[in-house]
């Protein structure tokens, strides 16, 4: 018997992240690098420990190897605990058969036994692919004060963005009376952030009912929340005003990294408040060479820069040679940018080599065909030959010479 926990968190980290294409070949989306030294999963894990939640289940099923290795025993997040801690929860075989996780609700349903072992009063359900800093304990206080069955964190978005989200219509006190998934004509601008707090008994009841419904797609947004509203449960919207970004696409992943370079964006990784933790590698300090020109950038320990870096986010073990240029780009760990190469508006994944004089991506203002402009992406372990060209928006996942085709 475990010691009872007040609150347990479950992080949905099973998504393939297919919209990140070459960046998630071989790794789960939450294990994708972010912000110079972090991985996306560091954000929800750090938020948990910073909110006093010490028991966390991470639900994985797509390419879990790197994510498992990264999370390890949870030590970097102070989640290696005598009671509780962090657990990676893949789908497993039961006496009645075995199932992959068929949806977000099904994934939690299949792990109700994990939750029950800690007998928590509340369960926090989180997404493994959002960038934000949040103290869930304040949201839990709100949930308790409202005596809610379920509290959903919401963010006010613009009318144009609203049709990409689950939209809540709520009364002045926060009580939700209507929920629409990706509406064409939004009736409200309160978007669900995919952060739910449930009172445990209510969660179990609705998960079991949903599991028995063969028509359900086993999804929180599509099935559980509408079913609870229909049954008259008390759902509350918890307003959040800080920085939050879903990094599910190439464009949003690039933007979220660039946001870190913007002093007006309210996400400060340097502040000690709600600090983000990650697994550290033992890199020496970064070395900046005699020919380097660096401005408006984020560069961690282990990088070696002797070229020009402007509006870029580099990771550990990245080398930017003399006379190379990296601009408006993100370069993942272990990648080498050789002399004379120019990287613009690109994401270069791990352990790549960008050959001398190669040209990756282009600025929107330098692109003739504006329709076809986008972030160029080089997948993991790709070697781009000397002098090769990868135009804007192209995604490369194999070694190339010459000019990459769109």
């Amino acid at each position: 018997m475990n010691i009872k926990k007040h609150c347990v968190a479950m992080i949905l980290a099973g998504g393939q992240g297919s919209r990140l294409y070459a960046l998630t070949q071989g790794i789960a989306k939450p294990a994708v690098p972010f912000g110079g030294k972090y991985r996306i999963i560091d954000f929800p894990l750090s938020n948990c420990i910073n909110s006093g939640i010490d028991t966390v289940g991470v639900l994985t099923q797509y390419q879990p190897l790197e994510l498992n290795e990264y999370i390890g025993n949870g030590g970097p997040w102070d989640l290696d605990r005598a009671s509780g801690g962090v657990f990676v929860l893949p789908p497993y075989q039961k006496s009645s058969g075995s199932d992959w996780y068929t949806g977000t609700a099904n994934a939690i349903y299949q792990n109700l036994r994990f939750i029950d072992r800690y007998d928590p009063d509340y369960v926090v359900i989180l997404s493994g692919d959002h960038i934000y800093k949040m103290d869930y304990s304040k949201m839990l206080e709100f949930h308790k004060k409202k005596d809610a069955d379920c509290t959903i964190a919401v963010l006010e978005v613009s009318r144009e963005e609203a049709s990409r989200f689950g939209i809540m219509s709520a009364l002045e006190d926060g009580k939700i009376y209507e929920f629409e998934e990706k509406p064409k004509e939004p009736k409200s601008l309160l978007a669900s952030m995919g952060i739910y707090i449930f009172s445990t008994g209510v969660l179990r009841k609705y998960l079991q009912a949903d599991e028995e419904d063969p028509a359900s797609s086993k999804d929180f947004g599509k099935n559980i929340i509408p079913a609870m509203l229909a049954a008259g449960s008390s759902l509350y919207a918890y307003p959040y005003t800080g920085y939050w970004k879903d990094v599910g696409t190439i464009g949003s992943l690039w933007e979220a990294n660039m946001d870190l370079l913007d002093p007006s964006v309210p996400l400060d990784l340097g502040s000690s408040e709600l600090r983000i933790y990650g697994r550290n590698t033992a890199h020496p300090p970064q070395y900046v060479g005699p020919a380097a020109q660096i401005q408006n950038s984020i560069i961690p320990e282990g990088a070696v820069v002797d070229g020009m870096v402007d509006f870029a986010v580099l990771f550990g073990d990245v080398k930017v040679a003399k006379d190379a240029v990296v601009r408006d780009s993100i370069v993942f760990p272990g990648t080498v940018i050789e002399s004379g190469a120019v990287v613009e508006y690109s994401i270069i994944a791990e352990n790549c080599v960008i050959g001398a004089g190669a040209k990756i991506g282009s600025r929107p203002e330098d692109t003739m065909d504006k329709e076809n402009w986008g972030i160029a992406v080089i997948g993991n372990n790709v070697k781009v030959g000397a002098g090769a060209t990868v135009p804007a928006k192209v995604i490369v996942d194999k070694d190339i010479q010459g000019v990459a085709e769109i």
Binding site: I276, A282, P285, Q293
Partner: protein, 371 residues
């Protein structure tokens, strides 16, 4: 290497850099942007497969204990063996020690219980990346009772402080040991690292201790020449030794050389240190940084040249930092100008200050000062 016990003396040589050791022991002197001196011998032991390390402390060891914690960054937080911090007064017979013999006598119970066959001991005054496996093998193959590590070093006219040198036989046996020799030129300089058979060490330390002898160098090594099998082992890799403020400054500056960094930080033998979870370095709009080493947590808005910046250093707008070593959380105000300055932790340089030292005589600003 399971049979080797590592011992690190964290307090030796403190008087040679007394400014830096005013509030800390030798082992916790900040070094190279993100390290403390003890990280080097401790990582060397861990990377060589030594699983049991005792760190001998004397005084001023609070920052050292904070740094080492349970030993996890060095993978020495173990159920069996692992890292132990050994302060004085560790048992009824062990008081404040005056030198290695008394220090070892005070922890003899720990050494005996380790079950090790050999004890490898190091001070914290040498920065090097060493694989000790060759050292241990050489010791075992020679059948020596104790083997000392040396490096061929060109000593300046008048010798050096805190320095011992050996005369060696053709077979590598130690024929003579000179403490603080006034010998210029190429010498076999002792690295203050030795390996000894455990039982030999127990006997010898007990013998010296009972006769009131306290110096390991004089009473064990020097006095043992001719009586015991004392051999030598040459280290031919890169080292920096600290015996003055000037050598401390130079050792940091040497890290700006790529060859030195390659020698000290090889990929397969990383140097581990306490993890602080600082954010990566942020470069501002007008930043200009060349030939410098920067640790995480720095925020740079001004100019930095030929300098080593530790974690969390801030350089304000239009400030100039040249040939400086700025330790953790130093803040340099806007339009200030620093040259050849060593600032200790938490120093605040306000706006428009000008502080200029010289490379043979850098200006030292004490911990927590405000200029």
């Amino acid at each position: 290497m399971n049979n080797v016990l590592g011992i690190i003396f964290s307090n030796m040589h403190e008087q040679s850099v007394s400014e830096l050791t005013a509030n800390r022991c030798m082992g916790s002197i900040p070094m190279g942007g993100r390290y403390r001196l003890i990280d080097f011998p401790l990582s060397n032991l861990a990377n060589s497969g030594v699983e049991q390390v005792g760190v001998v402390t004397k005084s001023n060891y609070q920052s050292l204990m904070d740094h080492l914690g349970s030993g996890r960054p060095w993978d020495l937080s173990r159920k069996n063996r692992g890292l132990s911090i050994l302060p004085p007064f560790g048992n009824a017979d062990a008081g404040m020690y005056r030198g290695r013999v008394e220090a070892l006598a005070g922890i003899m119970g720990y050494i005996q219980h380790s079950g090790a066959t050999e004890v490898l001991a190091s001070d914290c005054d040498v920065m090097a990346n060493m694989d000790y496996t060759g050292f241990v093998r050489a010791h075992r193959e020679s059948g020596a009772e104790i083997t000392v590590m040396y490096k061929k070093v060109d000593l300046p006219e008048g010798g050096e402080k805190e320095c011992s040198a050996f005369r060696l036989g053709d077979d590598g046996s130690v024929q003579d040991m000179l403490i603080n020799p006034q010998l210029p030129g190429r010498q076999n300089v002792y690295m203050n690292i030795f390996i000894a058979n455990r039982e030999f060490l127990e006997r010898t330390v007990a013998d010296c201790h009972s006769r009131g002898k306290t110096s390991f160098d004089k009473d064990v090594l020097q006095a043992g020449i001719g009586r015991h099998k004392i051999y030598s082992y040459e280290f031919d890799g890169y080292i920096s030794r600290f015996n003055s403020m000037h050598s401390y400054y130079q050792a940091n500056m040497a890290l700006l050389d790529t060859g030195v960094r390659v020698a000290l930080f090889p990929r397969q033998r990383p140097v581990y240190t306490k993890i602080r979870d600082e954010a990566p370095v942020r470069y501002g709009l007008e930043s200009k940084v060349t030939n410098s080493l920067l640790a995480d947590g720095c925020v740079i808005e001004g100019e930095v040249e030929n300098s080593v910046l530790f974690r969390g250093v801030r350089v304000g707008k239009d400030a100039k930092v040249k040939n400086c070593i700025l330790m953790q959380s130093t803040q340099v105000g806007a339009r200030s100008n620093l040259e050849c300055v060593i600032s200790d932790k938490d120093v605040i340089i306000r706006d428009e200050r000008v502080i200029v030292g010289f490379d043979t005589y850098p200006v030292y600003i004490a911990k927590g000062s405000s200029v």
